[in-house]
């Protein structure tokens, strides 16, 4: 039993922490997310250089063989600064699908490009009717000789505007919500028939609606087994839950620190408002919420690679439920304790609240995962 980071992991943590300190002050972030692209190419290049983009991939594929613990470390530090680069979409989501489903050839072709920062990807899994059910896929892929022809619309694809290549879930067999019959495809963003309508999300990130109109892809674009895409997606999204749980833990940590500082200095009725016992206990509850979330994010990092899919799913869902609860409480109360200033766009607290709220809206909300956990128990 050991909850310590290794020396290498501590170095990684310090390195990401330093990056965030130097590049993600609130004003620096405002500039980044306020610009059209919504992230910085220079930062992306730096991520590649520092090895963060290849970190999570197997060495055989050209990655650096990191574990979910390394991803947790990076994401927690990213969360502290609300880093906006498309790391989750490229490395955790599309990258996760490649790790869980990609052939050796696919991995060897794509992973080095990702690691070098030359390739950005996105995973297009949600649809207008799907909510959080990964098997609810209406987009079709019809076999046409050795090729497939994809048609349909994918919703709120994180990182879509910057993606060079998508991994798209489409139905090759079965009914609309059958887990069997979902297949994943690599789709070039510039392929004829692919249209992307990009937009900012409320947390300052970028996403897009991806429409596929008779998009032709070759047979070797299939990621994983034909009709077997669901398990790949499911494992990938569980990985994304672990990663964004750590991000939420980082964001809560900063938000708590910020709020504590605020109530220690803001004066009302002749004393710092942090002298009021009600606010003290609220703040204590916020710190407890963070501690619980952190414990669960660590647990997830250690369990999310479990070979037993049921154990993995339970760990992911339990973690997501905890994150939903903690993030909601910390976010809402941080605003309440800040009062008016916390409600303004000019002040950092609200942006942490927004990101925490959107993490809760991604990959299944608390209720969804409470039910999933219950079904597995």
């Amino acid at each position: 039993m050991n909850f310590e980071l290794s020396e290498d992991q501590v170095m990684l943590q310090e390195s990401v922490n330093r990056f965030v300190q130097n590049n993600y002050s609130f004003e620096q972030r405002r500039k980044i997310v306020g610009a059209d692209q919504g992230y910085s190419d220079a930062h992306w290049a730096q991520f590649a250089e520092l090895g963060w983009l290849g970190m999570a991939f197997p060495e055989a594929a050209g990655g650096y063989g990191g574990t979910p613990v390394e991803t947790m470390i990076v994401m927690e530090e990213f969360g502290k600064g609300l880093v906006a680069e498309p790391f989750v979409s490229t490395v955790v989501l599309a990258g996760g699908a490649l790790v869980h489903g990609g052939s050796d050839a696919q991995q060897q072709a794509l992973v080095p490009q990702i690691a070098e920062g030359k390739l950005k990807m996105a995973l297009a899994f949600a649809e207008r009717q799907s909510r959080y059910n990964l098997a609810d896929v209406a987009t079709t892929a019809k076999k046409s000789g050795g090729d497939y022809v994809l048609s349909g619309a994918k919703s709120v694809v994180f990182g879509a505007p910057s993606a060079d290549t998508f991994i798209v879930s489409a139905r090759t067999a079965g009914g609309q919500r059958d887990t069997a019959g979902v297949t994943l495809f690599l789709v070039d963003a510039n392929a004829p028939g692919v249209a992307v309508r990009g937009y900012p999300t409320v947390d300052g990130m970028r996403a897009g609606e991806v429409t596929l109109t008779d998009v032709k892809v070759a047979g070797d674009a299939v990621v994983g087994a034909v009709d077997g895409g669901f398990d790949v997606l499911d494992a990938t999204i569980d990985g994304a839950i672990a990663a964004t749980a750590a991000e939420a833990v980082g964001a809560m940590s900063t938000l708590n620190d910020m709020t504590l500082e605020y109530i220690k200095t803001r004066e009302q009725f002749g004393q710092p408002i942090g002298k009021f016992q009600v606010l003290q206990h609220r703040m204590v509850d916020m710190f407890i919420a963070h501690e619980e979330a952190k414990s669960m994010a660590m647990m997830a990092a250690m369990r999310i690679d479990d070979a037993d899919a049921s154990e993995r799913r339970k760990a992911a869902s339990a973690t997501k439920v905890q994150i939903a609860k903690s993030a909601r409480f910390v976010g809402q109360q941080a605003i309440q304790l800040h009062g008016g200033i916390g409600m303004t766009d000019e002040y950092a607290a609200g942006h942490y609240f927004k990101r925490l709220t959107m993490i809760d809206r991604s990959f299944g909300d608390g209720d969804f995962h409470l039910a999933r956990f219950g079904a597995l128990s």
Partner: protein, 398 residues
């Protein structure tokens, strides 16, 4: 005991509802339904339409030029207006300045200001808060120095709702530094077009422009625009706090939101079934509806007490806490209902600056911004914490 309104009262409500149905401009209706930011002109237009029926100053007595409605009628009129899809009013004139001038104003002030308030020809805002004085008005810094027959005002006001839509500001300023700080506060009526007034927008988390900050630099305010005596500002502010806080109207807003939420939950699908029938969501929906029913019944009890000229007392604070909690919860559930479509942020559309189509179902696109905005409901106008301090002291003697 009887929870029902009389037939006459319901007929009156129907009349108001019919008027709103016939006269609410379609562009404003659409904006309200879609949550698009309203312009100064939108507010003014609608308020003037209501004024044609003497429904802007809905709470005014007949002798003061108002419609002289009973308490039940006021409630029913407001409910009809809200449920008819109308925007909330910028009602600092009718709810604050009017009552204050009626109680403390000079005959000249009454003659000058009241008719334009009733007719919605002048729109008012309220300048209380300052960066260092939120709930604690004793800390006000904004100063007014007498210079002949004018005050010269310098300072900063903040959290001024709709100042950018208003003509004048009802303002608390410091005219002296008494040892007991609240004694040095005075009330001035400030023309927002006067030289030295600079209004800067505060954009909130929802991306909209509700609030402002005013920088007042050597603004000259005629002594004739001082309400009451120097140093009476605290008394006037307390008079307003004690004055009808129409939190009952939030019951109507809540009802409108609940209907919207139910529409959304009936349209959204979970594995092909209605979100409204998914057990966890349905439980949350029912819980909210029951909370709202409790709040509505409390509001009815308060209205009945008020109608019987009984003191309403601290129940007003209880009602505020509970209707605001319900509002916040309603917006939270509307956001949750959107799932992934809670994420897109379409600020240009929300602010009415774009006609681009919405991302995802068009009824969802502003649910998350609305949720963020709703968080202010337990902060503004005396935070929940302050309401509970008041209740502990006054209602429980703690």
């Amino acid at each position: 005991m009887d929870m029902n309104f009389t037939a006459d009262e319901l007929a009156f409500q129907k009349k108001v509802a019919d008027f709103v149905e016939a006269n609410l401009p379609p562009d404003i209706r659409t904006k309200v339904d879609r949550g698009i930011e309203l312009t100064r002109d939108d507010f003014a237009r609608w308020m003037r339409i209501l004024s044609t029926q003497n429904l802007a100053a809905v709470n005014w007595d007949k002798k003061d030029g108002g419609p002289g409605l009973s308490i039940a009628q006021k409630f029913l009129a407001e409910e009809a207006i809200f449920l008819g899809g109308a925007p909330r009013m910028v009602h600092f004139g009718t709810r604050m300045v009017g009552p204050v001038l009626l109680a403390f104003g000079t005959p000249e002030q009454k003659a000058r200001y009241l008719p334009k308030i009733i007719a919605s020809e002048e729109i008012w805002c309220q300048g209380y808060s300052e960066p260092q004085a939120g709930s604690d008005l004793a800390q006000l810094q904004c100063s007014a120095k007498l210079d002949g027959d004018h005050y010269v005002v310098n300072g900063v006001k903040i959290w001024t709702s709709y100042a950018h839509c208003a003509d004048r500001m009802f303002t608390l300023v410091r005219t002296s530094k008494e040892p007991k700080k609240q004694d040095g506060i005075t009330c001035l009526l400030i023309d927002l077009k006067a030289p030295g007034v600079e209004i800067r927008p505060i954009i909130t988390l929802d991306g909209k422009h509700h609030f402002n900050q005013e920088f007042l630099t050597d603004v000259r305010v005629p002594v004739a625009d001082r309400v009451g005596e120097e140093g009476e500002g605290w008394k006037i502010a307390k008079f307003l706090l004690g004055h009808e806080r129409s939190n009952a109207s939030y019951v109507s807003i809540n009802k409108r939101n609940l209907k919207k939420l139910k529409d959304i939950a009936a349209d959204q699908r979970v594995d092909g079934a209605r979100l409204a029938d998914e057990p966890a969501f349905r439980a949350k929906l029912s819980e909210l509806e029951i909370d709202l029913q409790a709040a509505a019944t409390m509001a009815m009890r308060q209205l009945a007490s008020a109608a019987a000229d009984k003191p309403v007392g601290q129940e007003a604070s209880i009602l505020k806490i509970r209707v605001m909690d319900a509002l916040k919860r309603g917006h939270e559930l509307m956001m949750e209902a959107g799932a992934y479509y809670a994420q897109p942020f379409e600020q240009a559309q929300i602010r009415g600056e774009s006609n681009a189509s919405q991302i995802g179902p068009d009824y969802l696109y502003r649910m998350t911004p609305d949720y963020f905005e709703s968080r202010a409901m337990s902060i503004a106008g005396g935070s929940h914490e302050i309401q509970k301090d008041i209740l502990a002291k006054r209602a429980l003697g703690l």
